[in-house]
């Protein structure tokens, strides 16, 4: 006999298996309807192939696998599709999902199907071909989780051991037991097919608990002359857990977070082996399974070969179900199964048992008592965890400790809760904590991504700003040149003067009254003060515990805030001094001042500031602050030197009056406008500013267009230049709109990627529109078709991802894809019509 290893921990719950093995496997009459969920497995839901009202044949594929990790579903009998919509499906959460409702016609008419030819054996097919057949037969692990079998059977590593799980350690369930007793030959053939597909592993083991001698005896004659070994081991829950069975049969452990394939092992359930045999030998897809109906709330306890999609009510109705005597209706076994609250839920590929427990069998759980740390749970844990510590830390939401205590290695077998004398629902705590931790991890990834994006955006914006500044500089120079040119022509001054006048008028309009200005400045000061206060406080805390970098940043912030406060104060002082003189006057004053005066003033103010900074350096006792101040001081000194040089360079005979009245006027005009605008926008939020920019730009474009038309009409030589200018303006407008969009969505960009995506999408769309404007109709259509195609492709990929992740966006993505498809068809049609 082969050596078996001990299961660590484990419990001996009352088996309660004898009730349902008294009678052979039976078949139920056809139910009135079958409800077939599109997703009965782990992975992406199957893709629908039929429509409402279709007549389908038994075994016909109703939905096909929609990705690598996905399997199809098939019609369990012939009949008509009456509905395709959401129904509650068997799931611990009681959630609903898309299901196909099939009304059987009672004819049991099979679709054409062929298995391997009688003259061939499965060895004449390639493993790849067999895998394809398994995939299309809709086979997903029948033991528990329902992982697509084809995926499990194509591991990337070499497989040395194939383990067939016939352990069935959960109390009450006898589906595998009865299957082994009655269909042993088919199971063994199935195992041989599995072994062939895996490239003939060195060992093929069937593990059976020693409480199933009949199953053992039934299989024995068929494995006698094969390389398959039957291994029996002591009955103890949870020996049938994949990891535990591997440990019992091979003494090896699946590495934490890894797969059995990592140690060269593949594990399959006996039910799966049986389904594989049916699929390969007869070409029959998975449309039924063995399910145990048991529990004292049912008068008959036995196993059935049930069609997938059979409502539970149908099963129960044939077993004398007494609802009043039923305390809980459980799908699966008493240790890991989940309760059902809806009797219309269908049997699916993973439904091995329906346990209608009576009140004696499953009384209402007593209230939990405090954990006395007796350690019985730790003794029972097959994963060698410390359930009492996990419980302790789960209660206090101490995620770090939970992870250090290997929470994620808990297989949720329930052995700990089973033994706990204080009746603590331990597993429930673990599930909740796992959920919490997963959610946090996801949120962290999301926020990391958002942060990265935000920083990238900021960097990009800065770059753009710099580029724009450079352009502005260039434009200014060009304008000056142009002005010198036009000065020579002599026909412009009049116009210029007019412009100046209107501009001044506009500026005066925008000009706030001194009282208003005063109020605004006061508010600004208060704000600056409070800001300074906050940043200083932050600096305090950061000094205590922050990193050096943070300190520097905080310091800079404080400096900045101080400066702003000073600015604000000095502005107020200025305002008070010059009360009465309007800004416009001031501009003119400054403009009319001689360059010498300006320079001298500048030098004076520089000197003053240098003195102040010096004083500050002396006063300050903080090294970093000093450094910052010193560098500031250096800059100021450089400025001073510049100014002094400039002054020295001024020829002594420079007239003390402005050189050129016109330049002054134009400049004054520009300055006034700018000031007015600045005054108007100074206190506006970024969004408002941008909006104004957009409006202004639109106005300018309007004007530029008019001018361009004028020029065209007059066949002016400026047409080209004007055209270029217009284009630039349009680009700017686009930019501004884009920025505006980003700004408006910014508050949410930090934690929401859709906002950001949307704004960039809008920007892209706008760019496209602009581009399209210059294209021919046909090109446009072609473009549209191409872009729609690529969008559709992208949307499909996203949808698939979402489906694989079971994201809640699936539905909206699906509608999006459908819409895109419609649009694409339309566009293609248009293109075809346009292009005969």
């Amino acid at each position: 006999m082969r050596k078996v290893w001990d299961l660590i921990g484990g419990v001996h719950p009352p088996e309660n298996k004898h009730q349902s093995v008294q009678l052979p496997i039976d078949v139920l009459p056809l139910p009135e309807k079958l409800v077939i969920p599109l997703n009965q497995h782990i992975g992406a839901p199957a893709k629908l192939l039929v429509a409402n009202g279709d007549r389908v044949l038994k075994g016909q594929e109703l939905a096909e696998p929609s990705g690598l990790v996905s399997v199809g579903v098939h019609a369990p009998t012939s009949g008509t599709i009456s509905d395709i919509s959401e129904y509650p499906i068997p799931h611990p959460s009681g959630m609903a999902a898309r299901c196909i409702t099939l009304i059987p016609d009672g004819k049991e008419q099979w679709i054409d199907h062929v298995g391997i030819d009688a003259t061939y054996s499965f060895q004449d097919y390639s493993p790849a071909k067999l895998l394809e057949m398994i995939r299309h037969a809709g086979i997903a692990g029948l033991g528990g989780a329902g992982f697509p079998s084809a995926v499990k059977l194509s591991p990337r590593k070499t497989i040395t051991t194939l383990i067939i799980n016939g352990s069935e350690c959960e109390p009450y369930i006898t589906a595998d037991d009865m299957l082994m007793r009655e269909r042993a030959e088919a199971i063994v053939e199935g195992i041989q097919i599995l072994s062939y597909i895996l490239g003939g592993p060195e060992e093929v083991l069937i593990g059976i608990e020693d409480n199933k001698p009949e199953a053992h005896a039934a299989l024995e004659p068929f494995v006698r002359d094969t390389h398959i070994q039957l291994v029996s081991f002591p009955t103890r829950y949870p020996s049938g857990g994949e990891k535990q069975l591997i440990q019992i049969l091979t003494g090896r452990e699946v590495p934490s977070g890894g797969l059995p394939a990592d140690i060269g092992i593949v594990c399959q359930n006996v039910g799966t082996a049986f389904a594989v045999q049916k699929a390969i030998h007869f070409g029959e897809p998975l449309i039924s399974r063995i399910t145990t109906v048991t529990g004292r709330a049912c008068s008959t306890n036995r196993n059935y070969e049930v069609l997938i999609g059979t409502p539970i009510t149908h099963l129960l109705a044939h077993n004398g179900f007494d609802e009043n005597n039923c305390s809980r209706l459980i799908m699966g076994g008493p240790m890991m199964g989940f309760t059902l609250t809806d009797l219309d839920i269908p049997v699916i590929k993973t439904t091995n048992c329906i346990l209608a427990a009576s009140w004696e069998e499953a009384p209402t759980p007593p209230p939990a008592q405090p954990c006395i740390r007796c350690g019985m749970c730790a003794e029972a844990c097959p994963a060698s965890l410390l359930p009492q510590q996990l419980f302790w830390y789960a209660q206090s939401h101490n995620h770090e400790r939970l992870e250090a205590h290997n929470l994620f290695d808990c297989i949720e077998c329930g052995a700990c809760s089973y033994v706990c004398p204080s009746n603590i629902p331990l597993v429930q705590y673990y599930r909740a904590s796992k959920g919490e931790i997963r959610k946090q991890a996801q949120e962290k990834i999301k926020s990391d991504r958002a942060r990265a994006r935000f920083e990238f955006q900021k960097a990009r914006k800065e770059q753009e700003e710099m580029a724009k500044a450079a352009k502005r500089e260039a434009r200014k120079q060009a304008a000056e040149q142009a002005k010198t040119l036009s000065a020579g022509r002599g026909n412009k001054p009049q116009k210029n003067a007019d412009m100046v006048k209107t501009a001044m008028a506009r500026a005066a309009e925008h000009q706030a009254s001194p009282a208003e200005q005063q109020a605004r400045l006061e508010r600004g000061i208060v704000r600056a003060e409070s800001h300074l206060h906050t940043v200083e406080k932050r600096l305090e805390t950061i000094r205590k515990e922050g990193t050096e970098q943070q300190q520097e940043q905080a310091l800079a912030a404080v400096e900045d805030a101080r400066r702003r406060l000073e600015d604000a104060r000095s502005k107020r002082a200025q305002l008070n001094n010059t009360a009465g003189t309007s800004d416009t006057d001031k501009v003119m004053e400054r403009l009319q001042a001689s360059p010498r005066d300006t320079l001298e003033k500048k030098i004076a103010s520089c000197k003053e500031r240098i003195a102040v900074t010096r004083q500050k350096i002396v006063d300050s006792d903080d090294e970093t602050l000093k450094a910052a101040l010193t560098s500031g001081l250096e800059k100021q000194q450089a400025k001073l030197a510049d100014a002094q040089q400039a002054l020295a360079a001024l020829p002594d005979n420079t007239p003390d009056t402005p050189v050129n009245q016109e330049t002054t006027d134009a400049a004054a005009n520009a300055i006034a406008r700018a000031q007015a605008r600045a005054a108007a926008t100074r206190d506006l939020p970024a969004e408002e500013q941008l909006r104004q920019t957009v409006v202004a730009l639109e106005g300018r474009i309007e004007k530029a267009k008019a001018k361009l038309d004028e020029a065209r009409a007059g066949e002016s030589e400026y047409v080209n230049a004007l055209q270029a200018g217009l284009e630039k303006l349009q680009n700017k407008l686009l930019d501004a709109q884009q920025q505006l969009n980003t700004v408006t969505t910014q508050p949410s960009t930090v934690d929401d990627d859709t906002g950001d995506a949307a704004s960039s999408a809008i920007a892209r769309a706008q760019a496209r529109v602009a581009e399209l404007a210059s294209m021919s109709e046909e090109d446009k259509l072609r473009e549209t078709v191409a872009s729609l195609k690529s969008r559709l492709e992208k949307a499909r990929i996203k949808l698939r991802e979402a489906e694989a992740e079971r994201s809640e966006h699936v539905d909206s993505l699906r509608t999006a894809v459908e819409k895109l498809q419609v649009r694409l068809t339309e566009a293609e049609q248009q293109l075809a019509e346009y292009h005969p």
């Binding site: 590495p255 240790m335 006395i372 019985m376 994963a383 205590h405």
Partner: protein
Amino acid sequence: MALLKITSPHAHTAQSTASVMRLVLLATTPGLIALTLFFGWGSLINILLAGSVAVLCEAAVMRLRKRPVMFYLGDNSALVTAVLLGLALPPLAPWWVVVVGTSFAILIAKHLYGGLGYNPFNPAMVGYVVLLISFPVQMTAWPAPLPLYAEGVSPPGFLASLQIVLGLPGAGTVDAFTAATPLDTLRQNSGLLIAQLYEQDPLFNLARWAGAGWEWVNLGFLLGGCFLLYRRVFTWHGPVAMLASLSLCAALFYDGGSSASHGSPLMHLLSGGTMLGAFFILTDPVSSATSNRGRLIFGALIGALIFIIRSWGSYPDAVAFAVLLMNFAAPLIDNYTLPRTYGHKKSRRATEKKE
């Protein structure tokens, strides 16, 4: 009827906290019988008195905390604390000693720390130590074991004992019956070889292995402990480690039975509170280390501490001090003794951060 939504598992053992506690109570009987046989009714009176005080205190606290009183009394944990304290106290100790000790154990050591499951220290031992420090005279007055009584003199009967405990006038005092314990005798011995001591002192020469009466009391608790082990109320790790380390220390310092010897391993195993401590005190799950490896360390250190305090400390017995000291260390031990989880190469530390 609405079907219930309940998480798995849907099956549960019949075992409850109350039944675990009942088993513990049951397991103390052999020791209690031995105590009663050799030292009179005092221990039984202690237990009854402590038990009622404990239940009253527990109920009062639950009232104050606005919890369902009967539900919490039902877990029997207060009773266990009381019984263990009652067994540890000298028989015939004055009633107020018992009352003070028990109420301190329940009110302060248990409930001020959050009640059952949250107390870092073993409540019974906290009560014991408080009494030992506060009332050293009463706490060290142990009656003589039965074999030491002179011919014709009999120990006080139940009623007489009750009168002594209650300090009723004319009841006489406990002093009339006290005698040194084996550990006291050994500590005071300075001139005699161990063999001579065994020969001369009736406490030893009337005994089979260790000390008259005491050896049977310890064997009684050993028996009860084995019963609990058999019923899997706790694992062997703590007790075995403690007894082994105590024996080892005793063997190391036996010194060939010279006059400086601290007594043989057998003497230590069967004297004082050794077995009560090993199977009933340090196995208190709440305040001991958590994992099996942790319990090995926890038990071994207690064994060593007991020997050290017995031999070189100034208190006659040391189980209470040793256990309390190690209660301090239990969380630390826990941090470093996580079991190796399935699928992991080695065990982790509880303090480990995410890798």
